[in-house]
């Protein structure tokens, strides 16, 4: 059965390591914060100028001066720090953030990503996405395997305007976990429980690399 968005986040959380600095994009990536293992120190970076983002505030305790990059009211954890946007993107650009998780409309088999613009639709802007994908050392894309029309979002080439090239390392969808091969191709690593290799094959338009038996995810 295909994973829920919560389960995608849960699977991505298993990539976390103690001491990691992590930037989570809007949407499914935000949910990853709910699955940080107990006792593990993972520091969340919000690119509007915060290290050490905590959970949403309790009702009545919202502070308009304290928001995340999605403009949501948030809190901080002990050991947090605030800084300006140049330093924030400076640390991103310098590769200090260990892991970046973001959503995508399309990912190519070379690791290109498109997630900011649909021709013909009102363009809202790329925000910090282009900076993040151009610099992050380890980028995981969290998305559904297919779009609402049932078309694959894992493509030989992106058809939408790109956000960044050759940057995605791993894709976690509702159907599978896939790594990007350095020479191109989606390496199938894990299947969602009960989802067959054939189904993944059918829904992956880009080159799919299948080596040996593909285990089911542990959620």
């Amino acid at each position: 059965m295909a994973l829920t968005k919560e389960q995608i986040a849960q699977r991505i959380a298993r990539e976390l390591k103690d001491g990691y600095y992590v930037n989570l994009g809007i949407g499914i990536p935000t949910l990853v914060a709910n699955y940080i293992p107990e006792g593990m120190d993972v520091i969340l970076q919000s690119e509007n100028g915060l290290l050490g983002m905590g959970p949403f505030p309790f009702e009545g305790e919202e502070d308009p001066d304290l928001i995340n990059a999605g403009k949501q009211t948030i809190t901080t954890i002990p050991g947090s720090s605030f800084f300006d946007s140049a330093m924030s993107f400076g640390m991103i650009r310098a590769g200090k953030v260990d892991l970046t998780v973001l959503g995508a409309m399309e990912v190519s088999e070379k690791g290109d990503i498109a997630n900011w613009k649909i021709p013909g639709k009102m363009v809202k802007g790329m925000g910090g996405a282009m900076d993040l994908v151009a610099s992050a050392r380890y980028i995981i894309v969290a998305m559904l395997h297919t779009n609402p029309k049932g078309e694959s979002k894992l493509l030989p080439e992106c058809t939408l305007p790109l956000t960044g090239v050759r940057c995605v390392k791993k894709v976690v969808t509702d159907l599978a976990v896939l790594d990007i091969h350095p020479d191109g191709g989606f390496i199938l690593r894990e299947r969602a429980p009960g989802v067959s290799t054939d189904e993944i094959k059918a829904k992956t338009a880009g080159k799919l690399i299948i080596e040996g038996d593909i285990p089911e995810m542990e959620i």
Binding site: F56, E59, D65, S88, M122, K124, G125
Partner: protein, 233 residues
């Protein structure tokens, strides 16, 4: 030294039609509410606004858009703003979208006297079109130029009569960068104190960058996305 002005109207009085403005803030967080209101009152037109976002329909830069004062927005994300969309589609408004880190660093470059910087953001995308690309250590970077702005308008939490500024939490964002980058920098603060009351080790924007300062009033500090969790009992 006399940097303190009475209010927002006085602070912005020489902002002229066609000026290039920087406006601090991220979303509606840390925006110069008083100066925006004064700009709307003054009705100055054909402005180019460099600001990470464009406000919402009835708050922030959205108020200036509604009043048809903005010719061009330079932003990273223009969000949810129906009037913005209408003006853009009708051709009344120009928009230049640039990556958020590039926006921040082009402000920093201006404040630090660096004519241009290199960033990998946008390489291989339409953002790179027409731009100079240079490879360093096997990685491509775009050459991006320092912004030039006639006025930078920022909002701080505390400020002193010498123009030293301290921001609060994520309301800092672009404010200190823009404060450094304006030919004339105008700061509105929630609390204006005499020089000497702020801790010199905790100043975010040294007064040398600030030309005019005043204590703003009636801060609404609107929240764009109120997200909360329930208290467990």
């Amino acid at each position: 030294m006399n940097k303190v002005v009475a209010n927002a109207d006085e602070a912005i009085k020489d902002i002229f039609d066609g000026a290039i403005l920087m406006l601090g803030g991220f979303g509606l967080c840390g925006i110069p509410e008083n100066c925006i209101a004064a700009l709307v009152r003054k009705g100055v037109k054909h402005l180019t606004c460099i600001s990470n976002n464009a406000g919402v329909d009835d708050f922030g830069i959205g108020l200036m858009l509604k009043n048809r004062q903005v010719k061009k927005m330079i932003s990273s994300y223009v969000g949810e703003n129906a009037e913005f969309e209408r003006q853009l589609l009708s051709g009344e408004l120009e928009v230049e979208l640039i990556p958020q880190g590039t926006l921040a660093t082009r402000c920093l470059a201006a404040g630090y006297g660096m004519p241009a910087i290199f960033t990998p953001a946008g390489v291989g995308t339409e953002v790179a079109e027409g731009k100079e690309i240079r490879n360093f250590n096997g990685k491509d970077y775009l050459l991006e130029y320092a912004f030039e702005a006639d006025f930078a308008i920022v909002k701080a939490w505390k400020g002193d009569t010498h123009g030293n500024l301290i921001y609060k939490d994520t309301a800092r964002n672009f404010n200190p960068l823009m404060a450094m980058a304006g030919k004339i920098t105008i700061a509105e603060v929630e609390h204006l104190v005499p020089a000497g009351e702020l801790d010199p080790n905790c100043i975010h924007t040294p007064g040398i960058y600030v030309h005019r300062i005043f204590q703003g009033e009636k801060y609404e500090k609107r929240i764009e996305q109120r997200t909360v969790r329930k208290k467990m009992n």
